[in-house]
Amino acid sequence: MSEMNRPNQDLSAGEMAEFLAVYIDETGEQCDQFVQALLVLETDPADARRLAEAFRLIHSIKGSAALLGFDRITALAHHLESHFERLRSGSLLLDGPAIEVSLRCIDYFRSCNERLQAGEPLLPADDLLESVKRLSLTTRPEAERPAVPPAVVPAATATPPASRKPNPPEPTKPPLEPAQPAPAEPCAAVRVRRIRVEFAAGIPMADLKAELVLARLGGVGEVLESTPAAADFAANPAIRTLEVVLRTAAAGGPITMAADVDGVVRVDLDVEKSTPPPAASSPEPGPAVVETMRVGVDRLDVLLNLVGELVVSRARFVQLVAEMAPLFRKTAGGGRQGIAARSLRDSVESMLRSTDVPADRAAACAVQLDQLEQQGRMWEDGHRRYAELVESVDHLTRVADGLQRGVLGTRMVPVSPLFGRFKRSVRDIANELGKNVTLELAGEKTELDKRMIDELGDPLVHLVRNAIDHGIEPADVRLRRGKPETATVRLTASHRGNSVIISISDDGGGIDVERIRERAVARGLVSAAEAATLGPRELIDFIWRPGFSTAQQVSNISGRGVGMDIVRTRIESLNGSIDVDSVPGEGTTFSIRLPLTLAIARCMLFRMPQAVFAVPVENVREIVTVGDERILSVGGRRVCDIRGEFLPLVDMDEVFSWPGEIPTVERGAVLVLQAGPRAVAVCVSSLLGTQDLVVKSLDENFMPIRGLGGASILGDGEVCLLLDVAAVVDMITRSRPVAESHP
């Protein structure tokens, strides 16, 4: 039974390659650190800090290997971890043989990394495994079968390592083994679908709408290709049909919803394309592994700024070349000059031959004509050079664009690998708890700063485990409540204004506020009388208290004291926030809001007299043209009818106050902006299309402005303002009644 390098069937080849690269990178580093710790321990075997570190490292290695399904590495690390657990708790002392065996394990892990890198199958390590198992046996036989779950209880205050182990005292085999061959596929299948979107004939701004459709589809999956291609939209302002090949796990409903913007008359999903191009390579023996190296984030920041500069001067070049174009057009001065010069030459020749014109005057004309012709040749030369310049600028543009994408790409990573890790862990946790759980993922393409992704792993693991362990009811209870036996846990990511929202929701029983009430009183956090007056929201807030748990018993998975307070602290250290929303009997949703200081948002840009504005496409529901007959004025407020829905209609000067005079302009189009359940319509003077923007903060050098999520720099160096749609919608809906008190 040779261990394949792609044992985790849930992962596509592409995902596997991504994870592998991270795995090799991380474990390589962890092995180095482990050896360092061992070297210290060799001289001082009781160094508690080093022991704890070694334990943590080996635990991380185990966790990473388990996620990728490398069962040999997992088993080895697992037993080594158990040994270190005993060393750490002081029940055993680190001796020479243990150090020797540990180092051999590290050598094995490193050799595995090399083989993985080369795409070769891993070697068996049965002998080594036996030696590791013997380590504990030789010193204290009964240690192999502890009566209590061995793990971690004493370390409850430590920050949880990457993944809390799903291991009860080992029943001869690590628990991951039985999970492995299970063919059940609890995760929504990722498919490649070809979607045809038809637009109504003759609608204005069809190209922009097509861009919007594409961007919105990008939110439910990965757009592999489109016909016409996005770059050609502008050339076909009257697009009638758009075909998009989408790699997505989303069901038909959400896809259709994403594609159905104003002006779309028909959305077809046909599920052919049986050989998806990117996934076709999966039967290959092992995915190629990209070597990675670590680079300081500050260096990337410097690069990013330099590239920004480059892109700005590139844009300037493009503009200059465009402005020069009329000078060098064939029909322009130079070209016509040639023709004029030739006919002049004829006249001068005849003048020279003629006896009517004084010879000196004719000769003077000839000299001047010579000069003129020389000018013409210079113009020809300039024309050629200009063509070369245009070509060079094109090249510069391509290089600069590629460089920008590349540099941006170094910092931004999609959440999909992070989310993907949960496919495995959800199944494992669910199996262990005997629950049936489907994991749904959405918005995996949402990109986040790499650092955030790294930091988010632990909190998400905790929340997902919590959801399965506490949130989801046992199957019989679910059936009694009329719910499907298989529970659903959803992990979604999306942009909202200047933030990325990651939410974890379950369709379980919701947070039991009565239990919280009891626990809060029992723990002396509030008096019984006080507790009786607290509402559900206030009670739910108790879950953020350190050490607060409503779990009836501490399971291996959660309720171990690694509390929600740690999750919250971690999120807040990323300048984020976490919120919980729970409906009794229907489920719980945790929403993590993270800033995207450096994130890239795909935005719809529009020009107003005040400035150029950008709105994340996730917040753009429609682009419509609204005739005056569809606008109602109610007490100085405008409301417009958009596809049967009456929405407040505002201008930018109603949302914000602007110093100085703002010229009024024609209403070009109306953007319907959506934040959560609420929507508003905003008048726009001209739409500029969509663009990827690097969001920069306004408060870095200045101060935050409500309604603005930040700013970004456009190709020509101009600053555009990014709307925080959630805040804008809030300001509009809130300010209305208040504003009416002003005369």
């Binding site: 110093p659 306004l698 050098n701 200045f702 160096g717």
Partner: protein, 172 residues
């Protein structure tokens, strides 16, 4: 190059300043404060700020606010001309651009020629006036960039309802 040590009252020591002009009055900023001097580029207006914050600009990939010192001093605004400059000043970890009528020159002034602002001046809402200096025939006002355009105080000024800024809820 001698290090400019503004605070050091030693004899013979001097400090370097950048002189600039607003409404025919000459001012100084300490040179250590100054990052660079630019000809004004494109400025994007921003809402809900005092009128003297004319907007934000792109300084090599960073967004910086641009303050028109004329408006900050309550003087009538003037459209930019060939002499108009933006002085980019560093205020600790923040960078702000200041629009001035003209930048004069870098001036070295012996510290003995620097006179502290009398308390009466300093208390009358002119905390930013650090002192006065004479160089040749010219009298300069030395400004403390930090207190002049501290973003925190800009925000506070805004909240306090600086004249020229309509209340946020005002509707046309």
């Amino acid at each position: 190059m001698e290090s400019p040590r503004g605070q050091d009252p030693k004899q013979n020591s001097s400090a370097q300043f950048v002189g600039f002009e607003i409404h025919d009055q000459k001012y100084l900023f300490r040179i250590e404060r100054i990052q660079e001097i630019l000809t004004p580029g494109s400025v994007t207006r921003i809402p809900d700020v005092p009128a003297y914050v004319v907007g934000v600009s792109n300084l090599r990939g960073t967004i910086i606010p641009i303050v028109d010192l004329r408006l900050l001093f309550g003087l009538p605004s003037r459209s930019a001309d060939a002499n108009t400059r933006t002085i980019v000043v560093n205020l600790g970890d923040r960078t702000v651009g200041c629009m001035v009528d003209a930048v004069l020159q870098v001036i070295r002034i012996p510290l003995t020629q620097l006179h502290r602002a009398p308390d009466t001046v300093a208390t009358e809402g002119h905390r930013s006036i650090e002192g006065f200096a004479r160089s040749g025939d010219d009298l300069f006002i030395l400004l403390d960039a930090n207190s002049l355009i501290d973003p925190a105080s800009l925000a506070a000024a805004h909240r306090a309802g600086v004249p020229g800024v309509p209340p946020p809820d005002m509707v046309p």
